[in-house]
Amino acid sequence: MLGRPNPAGGRPFWALKDVSFDVARGESIGILGRNGSGKSTLLQIICGTLRATTGHVASHGRIGALLELGAGFNGNFTGRENVRLNAMIMGLSRREIDERMEEILAFAEIGDFIDQPVRIYSSGMFVRLAFAVQACLRPDILVIDEALAVGDEKFQRKCYAFMDSLKERGTAVVLVTHSTATVEKYCDRALLLHQGTMHGLGPTSAIVNQYHALLFADEKTYLRLLNATEQKSTRENSPSAVSEPEAQSSQAPAASAPEPDPDAGVQRARISQWALLDCDGASREYFRPGEQATLRFTVECRDTIAEMQAGVAIRTVEGVLAYGTSTDYYGQNMMDARIGQSFDFCFEIALFLCAGTYFISFSVAEKLGQGDMAYLDKKVDQIVLRVQEPDHRISGIAYLETRMRQYRHQ
């Protein structure tokens, strides 16, 4: 699939270039990218509302699309009438619509407003109804373009649960979103678009990290990451089942970076050694819940760095971030680092985690301003942490001290 030029005069503008991928039945793919990277254009081409200048799209089955909030809704008509109209547009017969109407209304939870003109609906009601119509009509391909972000979390969860059930029945889902958490939780694969070209296609965790690097890292670091991931994928054929770390989901999380290539450009700081230690200073892998552990790593400086911050992230095997923090949050960044100096960063953490295997990642970055930073080096999933079973059985990620009391009423 290729792009299309903008006919509004001036130089041709390729909204998409050399984008090519498949989505199988029952698979969901998340499309990430900055604003203007071509995501919406790509979706329109998939749906057939836009024609690609070169290339082709092959889709099999009925397409349900949520491309824009309220598209296809006539404001003066009631919700019920709009449901009928949209279902007819999707190609359903009157009988099929009648059969599905109850289900759609139950899902949308609009209540009595369903018989009111749609122009009085709030945006949340719009998206509930729109999603209900598109999804309950059992499309073979479901395409969603950032429209769900308008709904509240409860609704979003309901939608994603429904999408899971659709997937089990063989529906393919194509999702565009800015929420990387959504992509990691609900998508099987992810695609990263940047300025119209495919920058990555693969397992969600890798692509999400690449996306974060694209957003927050400087260009050199990002290019190094791209090169390294290519080398890594040729070196190791088995895809990593482990997720890449995030320092914090609101701050810039780390990108998937293996050992930095010693020949790759100027590296201004390097993490030279690391260890996870217990309270006696011995290196250990197994810990009991609640035990104190110290993550200690050494950074060698090769350049002047005004303000250096260090971050750590602990992730579960599935890639869920259990905990992340940074020296920046504690106001304990290292100031005025010079060439040739080396520093130790120590994070003393009380491991109140449930039993399981966790991966620890850590990184150093240069702080550039409020909320902005550039990575200097990072180590991903380099330390394995195994937390043993506590005395009482618990489940989940966080080990919260609980005391139970019971009273019997008369």
Binding site: T49, R51, L67, A71, N74, S93
Partner: protein, 266 residues
């Protein structure tokens, strides 16, 4: 391509029917007089034209045959048949822009849009025939059996309206000038059709021009079945129908040809 053309109505007739009903209802939903405007508008226009033509121009209907039908009724009939054509066509240039969501954001059979416009024009014309029925009952105390053929007389007009609307709306997506051109085209069409006068009033020398106009036959036929109680000439009617079908085919072809680019230019 032909297969697509023939299978299209079956797949989409429910959609077109539903959208036509919505469109007609939506015109008047929310307004105070509601559907009454449907009748009020042509009646008011008729009153104005009647006044101007008979009192100021001192015109006569000018043929012995239709002398019995009141001037107003003949004029009105011509008017509503012509409106069945002019109303969709006048909306054609901006039709796709008015439904830009359906072009870009929804998987939608866009050919339905000119079809809905033409059908709603036809349905409205049928509704607007009600005052004629009332007028006939008052004037003649009887209704000619041919009055029931009126919708059939409208059919060539609807087909023609679809064809022209499809072409103009397709080009109109690309060229905004078309809206100006269409206005002129319709005004010319109005005066070159026997709306205000019967076709017999036209001098022999230029009558061929009027015969070329497909609307002429339909207007005259409508007058014949409603006011004169005479069924239309069979061959003439077939010819009108054939012209309409030709317009449908050409219009559909042009629309489908230009369709892929709509999302780009709107």
């Amino acid at each position: 391509m032909l297969h697509q053309l023939l299978s299209w109505p079956r797949k989409n007739c429910q959609l077109v029917a539903a959208m036509t009903a919505r469109e007609i209802a939506s015109r008047f939903r929310g307004s105070l007089a509601g559907l009454a405007w449907l009748l009020l508008t042509p009646l008011l226009v008729l009153a104005i034209y009647h006044f101007v033509f008979t009192e100021i121009f001192k015109a006569r209907w000018a043929t012995p045959a239709s002398d019995d039908a009141p001037f107003a009724l003949s004029l009105y009939t011509g008017l509503i048949v012509f409106t069945a054509f002019s109303e969709p066509v006048s909306r054609a240039p901006g039709l796709l822009a008015a439904h830009v969501n359906l072009v870009k954001r929804v998987v939608f059979p866009l050919e339905a849009l000119p079809m809905v416009a033409a059908c709603s024009g036809g349905v409205i014309a049928c509704l607007q025939a009600a005052p004629i029925i009332a007028g006939l009952v008052i004037w003649k105390q009887s209704l000619p059996w041919t009055a029931i053929l009126f919708p059939l007389m409208l059919l060539p007009v609807i087909l023609l309206a679809f064809g022209v609307t499809a072409i103009i709306s397709a080009f109109g997506a690309y060229l905004t000038d078309l809206s100006h051109l269409t206005g002129i085209l319709l005004t010319a069409a109005m005066f070159l059709s026997p709306v205000f006068y019967p076709v017999e009033a036209v001098p022999e020398a230029v009558r061929w021009l009027y015969q070329l106009n497909p609307l002429t036959a339909s207007i005259e036929n409508a007058r014949a079945v409603l006011l004169d109680g005479v069924p239309p000439p069979f061959l003439g009617y077939l010819r009108g129908l054939a012209t309409g079908l030709l317009a449908v085919v050409i219009g559909a072809a042009v629309f489908v040809w230009l369709k892929p680019g709509f999302a780009d230019v709107l």
